[in-house]
């Protein structure tokens, strides 16, 4: 199997599993218990928090552990809106956010909040001037993803952070697709809240984190015990949290060399595909992107047909976000970029990872050329 769907999930790194196992086998105490057996688990959680903080470039008490990246997004959006209710109920976000943000915004809208969606250009990047025009006196939060999960296109977060700060608006960044993939520390982006997820960076599923800059107003969504400083009740997922810290540390240590290596493989794959398949296009090619992601349109063939035909050849890829697979509607991200609906339906995402090898690229190229050729022979377009 050649796995090119790392934006959906990644294999658990064996070193991460090793780090987790003691907290499943032996040190299974409750971190809130006062005796030494419980405090052993507490120490593991707090050590993990410090390691995550070091990778992000923030203080340990600015890191909250959650049950997923989606939960981190929910906590950021709903938690800030609740805490700042007196100030206003307006949110600005982008049209290309992950459903974790978009559907949460839709739910907030149903609760009486006002949401504005910043469009993107053909390159898939939000326009700063448009964002600026949308920020008003009642705007509480700006939420823009660091890199889009479908195209890999990076958003101008540093500029957005400066803009938000100058207007007294909080900035949330969904960094699920960039954490551990890019050199640099996420807290340095200047955002007030940053979401990440362990399983996108060779960690376990079921654990995420939210960076919350000190002093950021936030109300909990899940109430109960005083876990996570009262902001996320529930006994800590100790092994998962240890796994997240180990995975993030490993990813950050390898980020610089992997970014170069994967970008080289990705760029070669794109170059060869464009040369071999007439009419093929790279969606979002004009913008800076995360190094592991390519989104390609093969006009005349349906994206899901490409995905299934590649699966039958042992290659895993996707039509977009894993959440929308099986959805007959074309990608909201590609439509927002102005793609013709049929071209959006004809698009496929390949996302590379740490275990992607040189020779995989040649195999995938060969398979794609054949599959697109076969499907075009059946196509009515």
């Amino acid at each position: 199997m050649i796995y090119l769907d790392h934006n959906a999930t990644t294999p658990l790194d064996p070193r991460v599993l090793e780090a987790m196992l003691p907290y499943l086998r032996e040190a299974w105490g409750n971190p809130s218990s006062p005796y030494r057996f419980g405090q052993q688990a507490r120490a593991a959680v707090e050590r993990a928090r410090s390691r995550v903080a070091e990778c992000l470039g923030c203080r340990a008490d600015e890191v909250l552990f959650t049950g997923s990246g989606t939960e981190a997004d929910n906590l950021a959006l709903r938690g800030v809106l609740r805490a700042r209710r007196a100030r206003g109920r307006h949110v600005v976000t982008s049209a290309i956010e992950h459903p974790a943000v978009l559907r949460t915004c839709a739910a907030l809208e149903a609760d009486g909040c006002r949401i504005d969606y910043v469009p993107v250009g053909r390159d898939g990047v939000v326009d700063l001037a448009t964002v600026e025009g949308m920020l008003g006196p009642d705007t509480v939060l700006l939420s823009v993803m660091h890199a889009n999960n479908e195209t890999g296109v990076l958003q101008p977060i540093t500029e957005l952070a400066a803009l938000a700060r100058s207007r007294g608006v909080l900035l949330h960044v969904d960094a699920v697709q960039t954490a551990g993939k890019l050199p640099g520390r996420l807290a340095d982006l200047g955002a007030d809240l940053v979401s990440l997820s362990a399983h996108k960076l060779h960690g376990p599923k079921g654990v995420g984190a939210l960076y919350v800059r000190k002093g950021t107003p936030l109300d909990p969504l899940i109430t109960g015990g005083e876990h996570e400083r009262g902001l996320r009740a529930g006994t800590e997922n100790v092994a998962g949290i240890v796994g997240l810290a180990e995975a993030l540390a490993l990813a950050c240590a390898a980020a610089e060399s992997e970014a170069i290596r994967q970008a080289e493989l990705r760029d070669r794959l794109e170059r060869d595909l464009l040369a071999a398949i007439p009419g093929a296009r790279v969606n979002g090619a004009a913008a800076p992107r995360v190094p592991n992601t390519t989104n390609l349109a093969f006009p005349g063939v349906d994206g899901e047909s490409v995905v299934v035909a590649l699966d039958l050849r042992g290659i895993c890829c996707s039509t977009g976000s894993a959440c929308s697979t099986g959805d007959p509607e074309p990608s909201h991200v590609l439509l927002a970029m102005g793609l013709d609906p049929r071209d959006a339906q004809s698009s496929v995402r390949l996302s590379l990872g740490r275990e992607t090898r040189d020779e995989d690229i040649a195999t995938v190229l060969h398979a794609l050329v054949e599959v697109v050729g076969q499907l075009r022979a059946v196509s009515s377009l």
């Binding site: 005349g300 039958l312 609906p341 049929r342």
Partner: protein
């Protein structure tokens, strides 16, 4: 078709397998996203793909929105009140291609009345089922056949000159 992540002996980590299909999927209860073997067979080796030349076309149908979504084109030739030849081309998901292919097999050789009575459920049943969320894909095949049959009737009514499409 055994796949499923295999175990690599050294790490015990779930690693790549070589075979194309996860066998455990066949036991999954309820609607799943994936297709059964017969659907995949009709998807990878669709029957009756292609076009009939205008001189041999007695009925032609095209269904699907002209600008977005799936599309199907279907050609029939009629001899002695039966569908003698049937061809199709399709832009769509594996479910759309497979159901169109199976439809052509069901329609081939049938009388026109029999062909008209083929339903979506007949096609899905002949394929041994398709994922619940993919049922809408099967609509295109039957609609395409109906369009081609109506085209044949219209041509006959006007004592059709064979100008197709």
């Amino acid at each position: 078709m055994a796949m499923g992540p295999q175990r690599t002996p050294d790490t015990g980590q779930q690693g790549p397998g070589d075979d194309p299909l996860p066998e455990q999927m066949e036991d999954l209860p309820g609607p799943v996203l994936y297709y059964n073997e017969l659907v995949l067979d009709h998807f990878t080796r669709p029957r009756n793909v292609g076009e009939l030349p205008p001189a041999e076309t007695d009925g032609f149908g095209v269904v699907g929105d002209p600008t977005c979504g799936d599309q199907l084109k279907l050609w029939i030739s009629v001899r002695g009140g039966r569908i003698a030849r049937i061809r199709f081309k399709s832009f769509g998901c594996p479910g759309a291609i497979a159901t169109s292919s199976m439809l052509t097999e069901l329609a081939q050789g049938r009388s026109l009345d029999e062909a008209r009575r083929i339903t979506d459920d007949d096609v899905i049943e002949a394929l041994g089922g398709i994922p619940e969320r993919k049922r809408h894909c099967s609509l295109l095949g039957v609609r395409g056949l109906h369009a081609a049959l109506s085209d044949w009737e219209a041509r006959r009514a006007s004592e059709g000159t064979r100008t197709d499409r």
